[in-house]
């Protein structure tokens, strides 16, 4: 059984060609800028106040007292919620939802195989993203074996924040590793993600040693994780290393509304703005001083 928040078919930005991207639920990092907060937990109740008509059906059906409607206001006490989702079933407005859906391995395989013709024509395949997909590695192994046999190209997007053995057993099936690097400075990494990055950097080196195809993805949150000093650190770390390229991902605010749905607080300051071309060009120019290949078109 695999916990999945979303399956995006005709996905074009997570690896080569036409792909199906499977977003797995659950992550062991909490990047403060994350635009997919619904993938933090494996199971979580989502609530959209804009859709809710305050009909009170959820209040009636919940035996733990999670929902309360007062003065046409819907208050949710999430600490009491055990994710039974009885409320989701009765919500005709779809204001209440589960963040994830549980798939049998075979169900997931079937969905992935639907677009086989498109993968073949475009040199595409399937990408497992998240969340941190590797946290469900024992379930993934079987799917990977199946897909490998069917000659479906597999890409994984991971932050590598775990023991190397976890990715090692999947590695033989994977064609490209999309590795998210948040920041090189250790203290800053802890501040931004809640986690030390020592293991992550070691794991990258271990993957490089295995001669795997690696694409690095760098979120650029202006003056937060990627100042000019930070980008120099990145350049220095990857200088001369066997990676295919580095992709710059400018910060955007398209995920903030999902914090509201999850009932989380968005920790990043409102004053943090989307980087303009000038900022991105500066980052690009600085990184370009090192022996690394950088993907162009980062403002498209």
């Amino acid at each position: 059984m695999i916990y999945v928040t979303n399956i995006q078919r005709f996905s074009l930005d997570d690896g080569p060609g036409i792909r199906t991207t499977v977003f797995l639920a659950g992550c062991n990092m909490r990047c403060i800028w994350c635009h997919n907060p619904e993938t933090f937990e494996k199971v979580n109740l989502l609530y959209d106040d804009e859709l809710c008509i305050k009909c009170g059906k959820c209040v009636v059906v919940c035996d733990r007292g999670v929902h309360l409607i007062e003065n046409r206001k819907h208050i949710i006490n999430r600490t009491k919620c055990k994710n039974c989702f009885k409320c989701v079933e009765v919500c005709a407005q779809k204001a209440l939802k589960s963040n994830s859906k549980i798939y049998l391995e075979s169900e997931l395989e079937d969905i992935i195989m639907e677009d086989e013709d498109f993968y073949k024509m475009s040199d595409g395949g399937v990408t497992f993203s998240g969340g941190e997909p590797v946290l469900q590695s024992s379930e993934l192994v079987n799917i990977f074996k199946f897909l490998h046999e069917k000659k479906v190209d597999i890409v994984i997007e991971t932050a590598l924040n775990y023991e190397f053995e976890m990715i090692e057993k999947l590695a033989e099936f994977i064609s490209v590793f999309l590795i998210d690097i948040k920041v090189i400075d250790r203290k800053k990494h802890i501040d931004c993600t809640g986690m030390d990055n020592k293991k992550i950097l070691q794991n990258i080196d271990a993957l490089i040693k295995m001669q795997k195809r690696i694409w690095i993805r760098l979120p650029i949150i202006p003056n937060i994780n990627m100042t000019l000093d930070d980008i120099r650190d990145v350049g220095a770390f990857f200088n001369h290393k066997q990676i295919e390229h580095i992709e710059l991902l400018p910060y955007h605010k398209m995920g903030i509304y999902k914090y509201r749905l999850c009932g989380y607080k968005y920790k990043l300051n409102d004053s943090v703005e989307v980087p303009d071309r000038e900022y991105m060009d500066k980052i690009f120019a600085e990184l370009n001083k090192y022996d690394v290949s950088i993907m162009e078109g980062y403002m498209d």
Binding site: F10, D13, T20, P250, H252, I256, D300
Partner: protein, 703 residues
């Protein structure tokens, strides 16, 4: 001869028009129009000619047209009985059937450019001399002579006007082509425009398309280029002038189809293929409409040019799969050799230029109305008019989904049968009342048979049966299967009441209906229903023959009619509210395909498109910035390749404008499928917060 025609016309116009044989009357009207219409040439003009529909209107036939008029005529001519007449009239009133007949032809400009006026006139005269016995044929030959002479004379009028304005080039060209075969590319384009202008005059502007112009103009271009008297750029300049002329008529459905293969299977794209696309790229006008024939060996350069055009958001060219289109025409009774020369007329109707007259817009059936009539004992929910069902079953006698499905099939075929008889009868009126002698002069076989094209004079004489509301019907059938027969949430006898209330008071049930599987998401149970229905329908109409000797051919596209039919259709079991639009063409119901384009194309994969002799439309939408990224463009190209490799017939891409996004914001329920590129990833537009939606709208405006 000028004096002669003019004399005849004056006399004719003064006297009672109705006394004259219809074919001669139409020919004289046409001639009168060409000899009297305002013409204009300026000394800087590159091409002469102008088409003006308002001016033309009323000059022609004294018989007003229109569908109701047509059925009245049918009754007067005793072609159909009073009962049939009333029933068809009601069916049209209630939006079960829609008809807009006439025109819709690709004239044989090709053949004419290679024959010229003098030779054509000579040929007609030979027929007049040799076939004096048969009065009717003689009248037809005479009509051919009148229209040819009039056209020739009109070109000479342009020559005179050019002379007066000091435009020697146009004068010389006109004087030459008024008699002979064009001797260079420039003259060929000029003659093509004149013939097109006159063809539109002859049919009062009803859809006339131009066919494979990059093929039939190419010999002149090639020869001129070899002689060194033309360059690519000069040809581009001349073609742009043609584009300007074509753009005089908005929504003219003047389709031009480019590319394709020859009979040996070799690619035929050439400089003109590129020039035509570049003309639209430069001018950005919605006329002419461009289509492109695609096959495995089409050069990458042409793919790139086509996508360069698609990325502008102009919605062209429409892409056609050569192989499937040829098979579809063969299934409409066309020989392989002729089918390989197929063109497109109007929107997407497959036709053989200069050889086929098929009233491609002659009929459209509202599939969803059929179900409404079944559920209400033959009574229309909107107009209260009646249709006599084949079986008036009581709903409580329907015990299983299979019972219901089989009944639907019978009623759909029953409507189809009646409609086919109707259009075939209506078609008979045309040669009595609305012959088109000039179009006939451009159609292969008319002289040989001595018959006007409306009387079956040309080589292929099909009739066309178009369909609308397919996705609504299969979604409704799926909901009935799930909710009525499997989950038994509601009894079938309650359905008429629920739909009559337009789901008011049944919102929860409607939510359940909306949540049922929908066509277009790669879900087998519902996709298979459409496949079955379409196979049954195509097989049924494939066996019918029309009085002009041709076949009936199916079309699955809806132009704007899904809107007008929807306004006349009550609430339906797919969750659709009363008087709202039906699904467009073969597309899923608005906003119901939420799994993206690959799933949509998989849903269509097993449809028998090689039986769609009258074409189909599949419309896929993207936002402008999605197509700005080259990787995305390549992916879309691959999407097309897979779809065609799996037997797809047609696909077209629309790039969404700001208005659409504003509508999506206001009525999200119709736009669940709208994918927008956010930043590095794509998202469903309606799932974004208002602030983000606003940002995307603003961005769309800027691009």
């Amino acid at each position: 001869m000028y004096g002669n025609i003019c004399g005849d016309i004056t006399e004719f116009l003064d006297k009672n028009r109705r006394d004259m044989p219809i074919i001669l009357r139409e020919a004289y009207c046409f001639a009168a129009y060409l000899l009297l219409k305002d013409i204009e040439v300026n000394n800087t003009d590159i091409l002469a000619g102008k088409w003006n529909w308002e001016e033309n209107n009323g000059m022609k036939s004294p018989y007003p047209r229109g569908t109701y008029r047509e059925i009245e005529e049918m009754q007067q001519c005793e072609i159909c009985s009073k009962t049939d007449f009333l029933e068809i009239r009601d069916a049209i009133h209630m939006g079960l059937l829609v008809r807009s007949p006439g025109g819709h032809v690709v004239p044989g400009y090709d053949l004419f450019l290679n024959t010229g006026f003098d030779k054509t006139i000579e040929k007609i005269k030979k027929y007049i001399r040799s076939d004096r016995e048969q009065k009717e044929k003689l009248n037809f030959y005479k009509s051919q002579l009148i229209v040819m002479k009039a056209a020739q004379e009109c070109i000479l009028r342009y020559a005179k006007e050019a002379e007066r304005k000091g435009n020697k080039e146009i004068r010389n060209n006109c004087e030459w082509i008024a008699h002979k075969v064009p001797h260079n590319f420039y003259q060929a384009v000029q003659l093509l425009w004149f013939m097109h202008e006159f063809a539109k005059d002859d049919t009062q502007g009803i859809v006339i398309s131009l066919g494979r112009i990059d093929q039939y103009l190419y010999p002149w271009y090639k020869e001129d280029k070899e002689k060194g008297i033309i360059t690519y750029d000069k040809a581009f300049e001349i073609m742009q002038e043609l584009w300007k002329k074509l753009a005089q008529q908005d929504h003219g459905f003047q389709n031009i189809i480019l590319g394709g293969k020859d009979h040996e299977g070799k690619d035929v794209c050439n400089d003109l293929t590129k020039i035509c696309m570049e003309c639209t790229l430069k001018r950005r006008t919605e006329q002419p409409s461009l289509s492109l024939r695609i096959h495995n060996n089409m050069p990458e350069e042409i793919w790139d040019k086509a996508f360069q055009l698609i990325c502008t958001g102009i919605g062209m060219p429409s892409l056609f799969n050569d192989e499937i289109c040829v098979l579809a025409k063969m299934n409409s009774g066309v020989s392989r050799e002729d089918a390989e020369n197929f063109s497109v007329v109007g929107c997407v109707e497959l036709t053989i230029g200069g050889q086929e007259f098929s009233h491609t817009e002659g009929l459209r059936i509202n599939w969803l109305k059929v179900m409404e009539l079944m559920l209400n004992n033959g009574t229309c929910l909107i107009t209260d008019r009646k249709w006599s069902l084949k079986h008036s079953y009581r709903l409580d006698d329907i015990n299983s989904f299979k019972d219901f499905f089989d009944w639907y099939v019978e009623e759909l075929l029953h409507v189809t049968e009646k409609a086919c008889i109707f259009i075939d009868n209506a078609d008979k009126i045309y040669s009595f009342h609305w012959p088109t002698p000039f179009i006939s002069s451009l159609m292969e076989g008319c002289l040989e048979s001595g018959l006007d094209v409306t009387a079956g004079g040309t080589k292929y004489n099909n009739l066309s049966v178009n369909n609308a509301g397919m996705a609504n019907v299969v979604n409704a059938l799926q909901a009935i299967e799930d909710i009525v027969f499997e989950k038994k949430i509601v009894n079938i006898t309650e359905i008429p009441k629920i739909l009559e209330c337009n789901f008011e008071g049944y919102e929860e049930l409607r939510n359940k209906i909306v949540a049922c599987p929908k066509f277009g998401n790669n879900i087998e149970s519902v996709d298979l229903k459409l496949e079955n229905l379409i196979r049954i329908l195509c097989e049924y109409i494939g066996k019918l023959r029309c009085h002009r000797g041709g076949k009936f051919q199916a079309g699955f596209y809806s132009v704007q009619v899904h809107g007008t039919m929807g306004e006349l259709t009550g609430a339906s079991m797919d969750g659709r509210k009363s008087r709202t639009a039906l699904a467009s063409s073969l597309s899923p119901t608005q906003g119901s395909d939420v799994n993206g384009p690959t799933a949509l194309l998989n849903s269509l994969k097993d449809l028998p498109m090689d039986k769609f002799g009258n074409g189909m439309v599949l419309d896929v939408k993207f936002t402008p910035d999605f197509m700005r990224n080259q990787r995305h463009v390549n992916a879309v190209k691959n999407l097309v390749k897979v779809y065609f490799a799996n037997g797809g017939m047609e696909i077209q891409f629309n790039v969404i404008d700001k208005m659409t996004l504003l509508k999506a914001q206001a009525t999200p329920e119709n736009y669940y499928d709208l994918i927008v590129r956010v930043s590095g990833y794509s998202a469903y537009f309606v799932a974004l917060s208002k602030t983000l939606q606003d940002e995307i709208i603003q961005r769309t405006e800027l691009s």
